[in-house]
């Protein structure tokens, strides 16, 4: 595997990750992904389902 392929692979992986994360909820439901609506009270913040907080 040459360098360019590796780099492009990494970039594609990152893009896929972001797309999946920010996909509108409706589409997600159709594909069957879980709705990561874990952000709620302080205790939920930071848990696995919610990283919208810091």
């Amino acid at each position: 595997m040459n360098e360019t392929t590796l780099v492009l692979g990494i970039v594609l992986g990152a893009t896929a990750f972001l797309v999946l994360r920010y996909l509108p909820a409706g589409l997600k439901a159709r594909i069957g992904l879980k709705d990561g609506s874990a952000c709620a009270t302080k205790s939920g913040c930071g848990s696995k389902g919610c990283d919208g907080c810091h």
Binding site: T15, F17, L18, Y22, T41, S47, C53
Partner: protein, 621 residues
Amino acid sequence: MNGPAAPEIALVGCPNSGKTSLFNALTGSRQKVANYAGVTVERKEGAFVTPAGRPIKILDLPGTYSLRGRSPDEIVTRDVVLGRLEGEEIPDAVVCVADATNLRLVLRLVLELKAVGRPMVLALNMMDIVARQGGRIDIERLSKELGVPVVETVAVKKGGTAALLAAIDELPLLEDPPTEHGWREPSAAEIRAAHAEAARILHDCAFHPGNEQFTRKLDRVLLHPVFGVVILLAVLFLMFQAVFTWATPAMDLIKAGIEAAGVAVGEVLPDGLLRSLIVDGVFAGVGAVLVFLPQIVILFFFIILLEDFGYMARAAFLMDRLMAGTGLHGRAFIPLLSSFACAIPGIMAARVIENRRDRIATILVAPLMTCSARLPVYTLIVAAFVPDRTVFGGFGLQGLVMFGLFAAGILSALAVAFVVKKIVWREAPEPFIMELPDYKMPAPANVGLGLWIRAGAFLRRAGTVILALMILIWFLSTFPAPPDGATGPAIDWSIAGRIGHFLAPLFEPIGFNWQIVVALIPGMAAREVAVGVLATVYALSATGDEVGQALQPILTAEWSLPTALSFLVWYVFAPQCLSTLAVVRRETESRLWPAIMFAYMFALAYAASFATYRIAGALLT
């Protein structure tokens, strides 16, 4: 039907009872957070195993003072306990958590829960505080009077839940819990009677000198019309000062570490794409964000401390008139303050507000008051442009400016709320009744756990979303490569560079250069990423001797002061990150409100930046 599946327990209690600490103590990390079907209320489920080897599911229900259900989350608590929430199993048992230092209100809740008819245990939490304050509770008598088993718990200490676990083992958990329940919505007369009964039981079974004297004395100062406000401002200022100065040694350490790592990797890898990706994209970009971990930790340290101590309610009290004058709801203020670091919990906590318009008004302005993602941006610019001096006899100028920026956010939130409530919707404010809990010494374990969770969340975010974003940014800033023989920085030919240059005229009136414009876009996904993007963009723009320089001195050299100030002001009002907009959409159940939020914040940011840039430019020339 619960049958062979693990029995399910509903965890109920008043707010401020330590219910969540108890839930955490029982379930550890075996927690699942989601939403109830059709309602925007958080559903927290956990699992644990009793000493007898029984697996149990437990549901942490929203805190409430009674089963009557005034706001969406109290309604959920009521419906789950009664077994009439769609899609939810009927609980096999109820564990009611009470703050043992403050039993009067919760005893009435216990009587209500008893009427429902499910097997029940009352857990008196924070018993260590009762003992420390010289109080006594006759557990056996209390149990007899109430007709339910009563146990002591100390959620924050190891082994503090042993009695509760044993009691759960002894509960008569039926195979099929009955669907009927004995609860009816109580009339005022019935509440009075229940109250009297609870008071009588309490008088007979408990003796508690309470923290009353200490709380009273302290409140005389902290709630004083003049001193109270002064102290509040002082506390806030101290917080920002600390965030800025205490964090510096740790931040320098992290910075040096990342730089060293970057250099080491750079030497190992051959010159080329991979090296650029790792050094200019990952190390420069993610590193620029990671550096702020100490600041986040210190900020949260203060927030958690103040909250556990009980001071947040006092802050809400002092600010209420201002808030009421602008139509904001007192009950929302504490979540807003507590979630000072992130708008999302504040927006979700707005659920306790029953009036829809009040709720929307609070949601619309929450992001202006809170967002710790601004911190890296503020810090970067302030460090680069504000001299490290002390003024007015001892106040660090940099900390003062930071404080001023957050104050600007809060004031603008109040102003916008005022406009919304008084001009757009004219309505009298809802009644404001809020408990001011007695002061309590914060438990180090609780504070430590809170910090651990936050730090973990920050690192996780940096390692996932921000990392992915920076990789993407790097890609967009590197391709396509410049044609042979081109002069100037390579980045100008890349996609990001082109977009930046293309949009730059739009932002030129407010003093933004094209690099800033490029940083704004991914800042939508995660605002602190703007810092990372700037780092990467400038790293990729560097030619010759400039390669490898840290970001801060570059900015000091290249940006004018009006531009820096304009950028700062932009961030005070900057339109929200996508996560927040998504949450707003879910909480308001419409696309309209997030759109309005985005639009008004963009307009505000642009106008404020414009004014700042022009005025600063005029003043400085």
